[in-house]
């Protein structure tokens, strides 16, 4: 009786959209699991016997090194800008985020070209009678590219945690006789663990998601293998099995982290007394800021200068009417997918407010699944799902057009848009949820008590209050979508290009100089949005809520 009443009460726009969205995310993933039970193909047996071990070893080596170096650089940069005062600190504290605007594959093409025999760097060295033996198109080279373009995830998370860390803990440690060194390693660092792990996990997931770098450098990791099985060997069943193994690795990493964390917590309610920044003295005045500028140089300025140089050589024949279409394609696709992602994430966030239940928690886990699963896996799952839908809807298609082909949705942009929404839902959702957390539920409850419906409350009360969180969410999702490569490559309709896929095509055809203009466009859009993102936070509605 009570259950029935509760169920009836909880059926509304938000819950219905949330449940449908959850199902649309979970069904393609289940498809992959079901496919695992079909008989194995010869290709899979070949992969299993000769290649699988190499894929696993390479993947683990790649993510292991990328994780260690990104965590170290992210921690170092965040610590220096939050704990010390020096000239240029404010500028550096947001510049250090900018490498995120450079897609890994663009950095890879640029460095590979610069360091090639005819590249700028090699030529400059030869001019003064020197040579270098650097071969960047290797696994260590890929590690370098990923670390340089992805460390900002760790930097941002750790910086935010350091800014919130209360001085009480370190002061207490020192009063109990701990040296600065001991208090850093026993108190500051362990308390940063959640931020450090979350940032590093994002870096690892992005590395597993990449296809552009590993394909160009020929580093045989999982995403490379999945594309290879799908495109070259034409065996979707083998691609699905590889995807399943990769998913096992991803979930093993996530569970291992949870297991190691155990019962421990890293926060406790203490009065937030910020730690005062110390001025740098002695040699450190030059060494620490110098090292930050050096990281910026390798992660941002060198690729950027090189791209500008190439763009100057090629812009005349790259910038034509087809380029304008390319920009329009990229923008309309990214705007549409961002809008849908944010809209659905908003519905789910609304559904998840209020009384918690096992169902809601389950739905939340499903919603967050997309970001953990590499693009190549999602692409395969979505394509199988859409082929099934097209088969089911074929009779309907024929009613409207007797000459229709069997695959309608599968050959349209709907499939790519769907995949974007699925993959980036977690990012949109988490930003919106964080905004809702800050506001609390009091205003919403007040509106309900004044006889406003759920939708009216959302539009008139909630949206204005979480506006800045919503904008942040949209910006982050937009940047991710416009840079995205693996999903776009597999799922775009024939002859449909975006800036990202055009850059990839130029690189594959060894036309790196031509790739400069679209690359710069991508970097410029992302840089502008990152600037807005980092500078809009200070504004926004001020809310005072008495904590009960």
């Amino acid at each position: 009786m009570i259950f029935g009443r509760r169920l009836k009460n909880s059926i509304n726009l938000f819950s219905v959209v949330s449940v449908i969205a959850g199902m649309l995310i979970i069904v393609p993933m289940l498809n992959i699991l079901v496919e695992l039970f079909s008989p194995a193909s010869d290709t899979w047996r070949h992969i299993q016997t000769h290649l699988l071990r190499g894929y696993i070893v390479n993947t683990l080596l790649l993510i292991g090194f990328v994780a260690v170096f990104s965590a170290s650089i992210g921690l170092f940069t965040a610590y220096v800008v939050t704990r010390f005062d020096f000239k240029g600190r404010r500028l550096l504290s947001w510049l250090l985020i900018l490498p995120l605007a450079v897609p890994s594959y663009i950095a890879a093409y640029t460095y590979a070209d610069m360091l090639s025999y005819t590249g700028t760097f090699s030529r400059a060295l030869r001019a003064i009678g020197l040579r270098h033996g650097i071969n960047i198109m290797t696994l260590p080279g890929a590690v370098f590219i990923f670390v340089m373009t992805l460390y900002p995830y760790v930097y941002m998370m750790v910086k935010s945690a350091l800014e919130k860390q209360s001085a009480s803990f370190t002061e207490n440690a020192r009063l109990l006789g701990a040296s600065k060194f001991r208090s850093f390693f026993t108190i500051v660092l362990p308390l940063l663990r959640p931020a450090l792990v979350a940032g590093t996990l994002l870096v690892v997931l992005e590395t597993l998601n990449d296809y552009g770098v590993v394909a160009y450098f020929n580093v045989r990791v999982f995403s490379f293998a999945i594309f290879d099985a799908w495109e070259r060997l034409g065996d979707i069943s083998a691609a699905i099995r590889l995807s399943a193994v990769l998913m096992v690795i991803v979930f093993a990493i996530i569970f291992l982290e949870r297991f190691l964390r155990g019962k421990r917590r890293y926060t406790l309610h203490v009065k937030n007394r910020p730690i005062l920044r110390k001025p740098l003295v002695g040699l450190n005045r030059y060494l620490l800021p110098g090292s930050l500028w050096l990281i910026m140089l390798f992660a941002f300025f060198i690729p950027l200068f090189q791209l500008f140089y190439y763009a100057r050589l090629t812009y005349r024949h790259v910038l034509d009417i087809s380029f304008i279409y390319l920009v329009i394609n990229s923008l309309t696709l990214a705007i549409t997918a961002t809008f849908l992602t944010i809209l659905i994430a908003l519905m789910i966030a609304n559904f998840n407010r209020g009384r918690q239940s096992a169902f809601k928690r389950g739905l939340l886990k499903v919603t967050n699944l997309g970001y953990a699963i590499p693009g190549a896996v999602i692409a395969i799952a979505v394509i199988v799902f859409f082929i099934d839908i097209d088969h089911a809807l074929y009779p309907l298609y024929r009613l409207f057009n007797p000459d229709t082909g069997r695959l309608v949705l599968t050959t349209s942009l709907a499939m790519l848009t769907f995949a974007f929404v699925l993959r980036f839902m977690a990012i949109g959702y988490n930003s919106i949820e964080a905004a809702y957390d800050k506001v609390g539920e009091k205003f919403t409850e007040a509106a309900y008590s004044l006889n406003h419906s759920k939708v009216s409350t959302l539009i008139r009360v909630d949206l204005p209050l979480i506006k800045s969180g919503l904008i942040s969410a949209a910006i982050i999702v937009f940047i991710d979508i416009i840079k995205e490569l693996p999903l776009t490559l597999i799922l775009r309709p024939t002859n449909y290009d975006t800036l990202a896929s055009r850059v990839f095509r130029y690189a594959r055809e060894e036309m790196l100089q031509e790739s400069a203009v679209p690359s710069l466009f991508l970097i410029a859009i992302s840089t502008l949005l990152i600037y807005i993102l980092t500078h809009q936070k200070k504004k926004g509605v001020r809310i005072h809520v008495r904590k009960s």
């Binding site: 009480s168 009063l175 109990l176 701990a178 308390l191 421990r264 406790l268 203490v270």
Partner: protein, 223 residues
């Protein structure tokens, strides 16, 4: 005199809180309350005694050791001063036992474990040895913070508003417990508060602080 503070002056760079010419002495085992309103400089005084801030001038001598003078400054980690923070600041990632053992150095593992048990017994919290701070109530957290500060046998114990985070009922109970612990351990202690009843209950002497000046001293009448 066990504690001798002379002509202590202090100013934050932002000029928001200042202490002028603070001079007072304490006997060994004495408990002194610094009573003052918010912004009077009482927490700053504790930070100067503990070595977390450097005074502009003046000297601090505890147990015949000069901690601070015109030509001498002992860093906070070498002062052997115990402090219980207003928000307790228990390390959230360590169990109760590890929190208490944190300040114990240069002794064997067994001696450490014995000292932890001794401290837990003192604050009557033996059964919470292996739990994490977030699993404790406010009053329990405060007792562990006290045990942690006492464990290394500091030469003096400083308590910053020890009852400000507690409910009224709990406050009365903890206040009595604290007094008992002070007397059992014969610890020389300074605690700051804005509440006269707290000061009168626990302290042997009350020092009044107003706008950075010591304005009055008295021996409280016990209830």
């Amino acid at each position: 005199m066990y504690v001798k503070v002379e002509n202590l002056d202090f100013k934050y760079t932002s000029d928001e809180e200042v202490l002028y010419d603070i001079t007072f002495t304490m006997n060994e085992g004495e408990v002194v309350a610094i009573l003052g309103s918010s912004g009077s400089g009482k927490s700053t005084l504790l930070r100067l005694l503990s070595g977390l801030e450097i005074p502009n001038q003046g000297s601090i001598v505890i147990d015949e050791k000069t901690l601070c003078s015109a030509e001498h400054f002992v860093e906070c980690e070498r002062r052997s001063v115990g402090m219980v923070f207003q928000d307790y600041a228990l390390f959230p990632h360590m169990t109760v036992a590890k929190n208490i053992a944190f300040g114990l150095k240069g002794i064997t593992k067994e001696a450490k474990s014995n000292r932890v048990d001794e401290m837990l017994k003192l604050v009557n919290m033996e059964e919470k040895k292996h739990v994490y701070p977030h699993e404790l109530s406010g009053g329990q957290q405060q007792r562990i913070a006290l045990a942690r500060a006492l464990a290394p046998s500091p030469s003096i114990l400083l308590l910053d508003e020890p009852f400000s985070n507690l409910d009224a009922d709990l406050k009365l109970k903890i206040r009595q417990e604290l007094r008992l612990i002070m007397k059992t351990t014969q610890m020389t202690a300074i605690f700051v508060t804005h509440d006269y009843d707290d000061a009168a209950e626990i302290a042997d002497r009350i020092v009044y602080l107003e706008n950075g000046h010591i304005v009055h001293e008295e021996v409280p009448k016990k209830h």
